[in-house]
Symmetry: C2
């Protein structure tokens, strides 16, 4: 169902009831009812005790936005009919002074956006219905508390955020909180629940007065006004800044819209036989099998999620350091616990996946509030995928699809080196909410995290608790540490979704955000001091600890990767410039090197001598001098090529000839220049002049790549000689070198022809000199200039293979210099002109069109032309899928991204099968 | 007949006889027989006295090169049969000791390459046949002279150039010349002809000895060896360095090959009843009607062409300052002159064009040696085209095709300002060989001309006489001046072909190339001194004179242009940034402005104040400061736009919003920076920091064009306001402004949408403020980024017009930075990797493919989408024809190129009709 409410199709059904016998929706209707609504309908159909209600569709939301914030005509009528049915099931009436029905109004997008969307509870409670409810429940404390909660939520969500009305300072929610705290202080009590019913009654009056004062209007006493304003406020929250920011990060389309679930309230805060809780059908952090959850007696759901109180474990399986002493639900209410686990098991069997559920116990009756597929960490996702496969709950393809590339990346995320952990100073412990390890400098606000990150610093964001306003800062941080909250708190959910290292609920920490300090275990950590987190175990350390990779020596990881390998068709190679990288990538499953950059040897350690010789070659004034310098350079180049060919023996190694503009290698530093000039026996002025001549206005489009070889063919000759001789030597040593020689930046077939002629000549020379008949190799080209795509048929007549260089291709297709986009591309994404940074994921409608053209033209000439990609995109999952669909033979990416590419390539096959 | 000898078609006929009754070819067979061969056959068919001979085809030449320099098997046999026929007609025998036939061996390419290809005369003359010929002619002087000429030519063309054999020093030709000069000096005579027969006999012995000494082999005495080696030498000359260089300049394909014409020799040097000459059926310099030619009594053809003797005029119509006192052919040999003019008239009627003929009179008998379409100057081409049209010799389309764009450009070439000529010091007079005027610094070698030109200097190449080795230097010079030679000398032919200003045969000049001085009229001109040439009248002046345009106030020019306008469909606009340019272009026939660059107003005179304000805007730290600076800038921008809209009232003006990277405008000079910082009230350091931030690695692909407007929409707003307000004001003043607003560098449809929204908003604001309902305008985009072409269908949904920016499109399609290609593109053309500089003529197989894609996609969405081009290519003839064929609505080019574009657009229609 791709069409939104904009579609001309006539829509007649805006409301879908659930909970009674007339449940209209089902679990497959997520696009229309949102995840929550569809699952409520599905649960009701499975016979579970779901509080009755109805779902207003996502189409209604889109209609609302497309029609100047007007509700569809039939909507209210349909909702009133559904509401009557709810009243009938719950045996009470909405706005009935004697026997009032209260409603919850909740958002429900197709995809969960934790904490981003709004909820209003206790709708229908007024000074009039309150009295009826008190009479009915005989629990004034609960009723006043519900009313003051309604006022606070409604004022915040509907009156402030829903209308965009500005309230000075912190906003109305915090202002009302301050009134609560003031009263608690006055009464000398610690918890809200310790306030008396009269206190709460007084608070209702105080709240209403404050609302009128701050907002300029009265809190509405008409239940229907409350209901419909709350629905509109949920719609409004879809287009709130936070929600938009979240969707941008998660790549959720803005036109999906949200559904709204209107549901009968049930109460977990009606005394000690009431409770509320959340849980997962398996452990979302580890993937271990067993019901895993948290609950709070005498509380409403938001108390658990908000992370203000540390919740109890539902069972011993759910115990951890923080909650081990708190009573389990299994102990406290064994019969209800049994009923609950029955439902959880049934749900998992029904949905074939790990589920995240919410429940409430109202006066000894269990209500299932919602269920949805649960978020999980990468390691948990992989363990569940493998376990469910062996349990035969899912098949091979589903198993592969159960781990997202981002989750797999988590497994590849670094962890703290256990050795360095042993000797480190521990600052405290918290809940292990996000996996892996992280080191960074402590910062105490989200904005500081963003700012420091921009300066290239690694930071740990330290907060009392996080809220949705912190999302950007959390994104920027290496790790997140909070003093409050549980495994299902905002920080934990968000961090886990991203696979980011996170520790929550570290209650021993004293965080003074205003002074930018953290006091723990007698140590004071100021802003900028280094700390380290073990997000897998919840340990917090002082200082910057050593790090290492998690996926190494993980048999489950290998098993899962083999599963993927059995499905994928795309070959995965790696970009590696050293024997060490090559070996590492081979361990990660790389099936060859897709890009070996000959220039790498001039960077980094041990490169002084070759770099000096390269510079000598560059500064040469005559061909003779250049050849002399190249001859001196030759042994280094050959040794370098040989070592990598040896490390990849039996696998292909694509060796690219020299690519960067020569002046990149000219020393910038004055002293270096003087030294260089001396050793070249030229004057410093002569050196500077020559260096000046090499400078270019737009080096990216200047004298580089194959162009160097057109002007200085002797450079290419030297490199080819090195490759051929190294191959012969290796073969004689019993190795199997498979060099694939690749020429960069070709835009015209005659450039390539020029290179081929050099290659054939040098090959013949080396064969003769070393007395061999033939040195196996293939000759191909990068496709990275738009013109190469446009004339790929002609280029294919020369080339034995193509390899897309999508970095340059993206630069030239857009006319974006990757080094210079910082001044405008942020504005492009903010203004939604570009959906994503095209240097991260392939721009399919521009660059992708050129690629498809090149593939089609190339294969028209050579049916089986081998085509790969060696740009950064080769390891980006969406791009990998594009490459699979486009018919590439392989992708090549950095060693670390090889497993992700293996997974994405397998998922591409599964996606293809579905079509 | 596109196929060459490479074609698999079986070729059986390599030789085409002509001259007798069995003439096999005809004038339509230029591709196979070359221009000369085809015309000889045609002339023979017309019954003219052509010395008999045969043509060896261009296919034979290609076969020769494709088969390791081996002749086709049947060739020799066919040639021998044809030779026998020649012997029969001429009643003598090749190699016959008593009655020998002598042959000329001449190249004949499809297109004339004057002086580039080789010729050998008198082939068949040996010590043995010589004696027979002396007996037969009783003219030992002529026979010995012919033999020494054969030895000199053969040694040069066949033995030295044809084999690549190296001779020390100047080469064999000059060494033999030195022997001739030495003998003349010894005998105390001035002219060759004053040497006695015995002297010449002695010279034959000296020449042969010298040849053996220098070349290491004997001069061959076998006529057949002479014949076939001469044929091979002609083939070899096709691939000589000079010929290749010439073909590159003239864009002649290298695979055309040359034919070889073997023809019975006739002699113009057999005494006073013999003569030789060349002529044109109309004056090739002015186009005036009448037989125009030169002749020399008792001479061979090469004496006329070589320019060593100043030739006589054939008639009074051909008289000029230099030859007015010499006898005309009409006076000297009236009956033969009458016969000759009869043939000339017949040929012109037959060929419907001006012809270039060569003739020889051997002992009172006229022989027509060759005829071909004659080269002419631009003014002559235009005059002939118009005259022949009114004579009904050709039709309208032929008339238009008779003037090449390059010839038209000549008309637009500057001439010396007649006023400044009046007061100038005359150095001397020569023959007016190349049209127009030129000023430059005197240089005395071709290499100096090239070197000085590279440094940006204008030079006049001053030579005793020019030779093919000087071609590059002639190309580099503004004008050419020689002391020797006639109107058909090498210098004259080459210069005229290029439409370059040239004076030849200025015999009064003393040129001392070794000392780099020229002495004339008592003045000494040293290297680097300025001189000026009037190539139309042959006057040479001291100093740098004023220049002006030739096409202005030329009624024929207007007539011809109107002829073109009646045929073409493509509209021609101009790129103009000032009211002055606009007015000039309107005079040249521009039908609107295709590119008005708003940034121009910050360059050049009178720009100090706006530039200062622009800089203030650029350096602004906040949006507020930027808007304040923009408001100050506003009146200047509006005045600027308004003036050009006024100048083009009633015609469309495409106004492009600000395009260049902002840092281009930041002052580079330290003092300027200090001043600027002071006036901005910031520190110099703060200024430098901000300026530093604006610097980019690859500004061509950086923050410019529409990107500036995404980040700083207020800049665009200001410009749009200026355009709209100026339009309203002009309308109120009775003018008719037609602004077409164009956004640069769009690569994604949403960029354009962003601009359209700004434009709609500003339009509405201005309408409201100035109380008008609507301000007529259109909104469109440049198509200059590859991605724009790829997504042109989406962009067309927003745009009201497209305009190709082929400069940037070429840069990005190739990945060539136009500023940086100097270091490698010369190697690209030298190595024949690129056929032409893609910044001069559109790269049709790369950039052109993108353009066609954009047009097709754009028009699929909007059938009548207006599409133009405003890159430099818009005035380049081949590109204009491409644009016509691609379906563009208009091209826009610099004012000066507008007439050329009008012509090319008309020729495109004619080309289309032919298909």
């Amino acid at each position: 169902m791709k069409k939104s409410a904009k579609s001309p199709r006539k829509i007649s059904k805006w409301v879908f009831p659930f909970g009674g016998k007339d449940t209209a929706g089902n679990g497959g209707m997520k696009e229309l009812l949102g995840g929550k609504g569809a699952n409520l309908a599905e649960m009701a159909k499975l016979g579970m005790p779901v509080p009755p209600g109805f779902t207003i569709t996502t189409e209604a939301c889109n209609y609302y936005y497309d029609n100047k914030q007007k509700m569809p005509d039939q909507l209210v009528e349909q909702a009133e009919r559904a509401l009557a049915s709810v009243e009938k099931i719950m045996k009470c009436g909405f706005g009935d002074p004697e026997n009032p029905l209260l409603l919850s109004i909740r958002s429900g997008a197709r995809k969960s956006m934790p904490g981003m969307m709004e909820t209003v509870l206790n709708v229908g409670l007024t000074d009039v219905t309150r009295e009826g409810l008190i009479r009915k429940t005989d629990n004034p404390h609960f009723v006043y508390d519900s009313q003051r909660r309604l006022i606070q939520m409604y004022a915040d969500v509907v009156m402030e955020k829903g209308t965009g009305r500005q309230v000075n300072g912190d906003g109305i929610r915090k202002k009302l909180d301050a009134e609560l705290e003031a009263l608690k202080k006055k009464r000398g009590v610690e918890f809200d629940r310790d306030l008396s019913a009269d206190d709460l009654k007084q608070l209702v009056v105080i709240y209403k007065k404050k609302v009128k004062e701050e907002m300029g209007v009265e809190f509405p006493e008409d239940p229907n006004v409350q209901l419909w304003n709350a629905v509109k406020a949920v719609f409004a929250s879809w287009n709130g800044d936070r929600a938009i920011a979240y969707r941008k990060i998660e790549a959720i389309p803005h036109n999906w819209g949200t559904a709204v679930n209107v549901q009968a309230m049930v109460f977990g805060n009606m005394g000690d036989t009431s409770a509320t809780g959340v849980g997962f059908s398996r452990n979302p952090a580890t993937g271990d099998k067993g019901f895993y959850g948290e609950w709070l007696p005498n509380a409403q759901g938001e108390d658990v999620v908000a992370g203000i109180r540390t919740p109890n474990p539902v069972n011993t399986f759910s115990q951890n350091n923080q909650n081990a002493k708190l009573q389990t639900l299994a102990d406290a209410m064994p019969h209800l616990y049994k009923e609950l686990t029955g439902y959880v098991n049934k749900l998992e069997k029904h949905f074939h996946d790990m589920l995240d559920i919410e429940f409430t116990i109202q006066e000894d009756k269990l209500w299932m509030l919602q269920c949805r597929v649960g978020k999980r960490t990468g390691p948990a996702a992989m363990k569940m995928a493998l376990n469910m496969l062996s349990e035969k709950l899912i098949n091979k393809f589903e198993s592969i699809n159960r781990v997202s590339p981002a989750q797999l990346e988590e497994l590849l995320h670094p962890i703290l080196d256990p050795k360095s952990e042993k000797s480190a100073t521990i600052l405290g412990k918290g809940l292990p909410a996000g996996p892996g390890g992280a080191c960074g400098q402590a910062v105490f606000t989200a904005s500081a995290a963003v700012a420091w990150k921009k300066e290239g610093k690694d930071v740990i964001l330290v907060r009392e608790e996080t809220n949705p306003e912190d999302v950007e800062g959390m994104r920027a941080a290496e790790g997140i540490l909070t003093a409050r909250g549980g495994m299902t708190s905002h920080a934990a959910l968000v961090a886990r979704g991203w696979g980011k290292c996170c520790i929550v609920g570290a209650g021993e920490l004293e965080i003074h955000a205003d002074q930018k300090i953290l006091i723990a275990n007698g140590k004071k950590i100021s802003e900028g001091d280094w700390i380290s987190l073990n997000g897998t175990h919840g340990n917090i350390y002082e200082g910057k600890l050593g790090m290492m990779k998690a996926a190494e020596d993980n048999p489950e990881f290998d098993k899962f990767m083999k599963l993927c390998d059995g499905v994928r068709r795309l070959k995965i190679r790696t970009n590696a410039d050293t024997p060490e990288d090559a070996a590492k990538a081979r361990a990660f499953g790389a099936e060859g090197i897709g890009l070996f950059r000959t220039e790498h040897m001039f960077y980094g350690k041990g490169s002084e001598q070759p770099l000096f010789l390269l510079r000598k070659m560059i500064m040469a004034k005559t061909t003779e001098d250049r050849i002399a310098a190249l001859n001196e350079l030759y042994p280094f180049v050959k040794a370098d090529v040989k070592a990598t060919l040896a490390a990849m023996s039996g696998l292909p190694v694509t060796i690219r000839t020299l690519d960067p503009p020569l002046h990149e290698f000219v020393p910038k530093d004055h002293e270096d220049r003087v030294k260089m000039a001396e050793s070249l026996k030229i004057t410093s002025a002569a050196f500077d002049k020559r260096a000046e001549e090499l400078v270019e206005n737009n080096p990216m489009m200047g004298h580089r790549g194959v162009r160097l070889s057109i002007t200085y063919p002797e450079i290419t000759e030297m490199q080819l000689r090195a490759i051929f001789e190294a191959s012969v030597e290796l073969t004689r040593e019993g190795k199997k070198p498979i060099p694939e020689i690749m020429f960069p930046l070709v835009g015209h077939e005659r450039e390539l022809k020029h290179e081929m002629e050099i290659a054939h000549r040098v090959h013949a020379e080396v064969c003769q000199r070393l007395k061999v008949k033939n040195i196996p190799h293939t000759l191909g080209t990068m496709i990275e200039v738009p013109r190469a795509c446009l004339t790929a048929d002609k280029i294919a007549q020369e080339a034995e293979f193509f390899s897309f260089g999508t970095n340059d291709l993206t630069q030239m297709t857009f006319g974006f210099s990757r080094d210079d986009i910082g001044s405008f591309v942020p504005a492009y994404t903010t203004k939604r002109i570009l959906p994503a940074d095209p240097f991260q994921t392939i721009d399919q409608s521009g660059v992708g069109v050129l690629m498809e053209m090149a593939i089609q033209k190339g294969r028209k000439v050579k049916k089986d032309l081998k085509i790969g990609i060696c740009g950064e995109h080769g390891g980006e999952p969406r791009s990998v899928i594009f490459c699979h669909n486009a018919g590439l033979n392989y992708v090549s990416c950095s060693p670390f991204r090889v497993p992700v590419a293996r997974l994405a390539a397998a998922q591409a096959v599964i996606q293809e099968k579905k079509k």
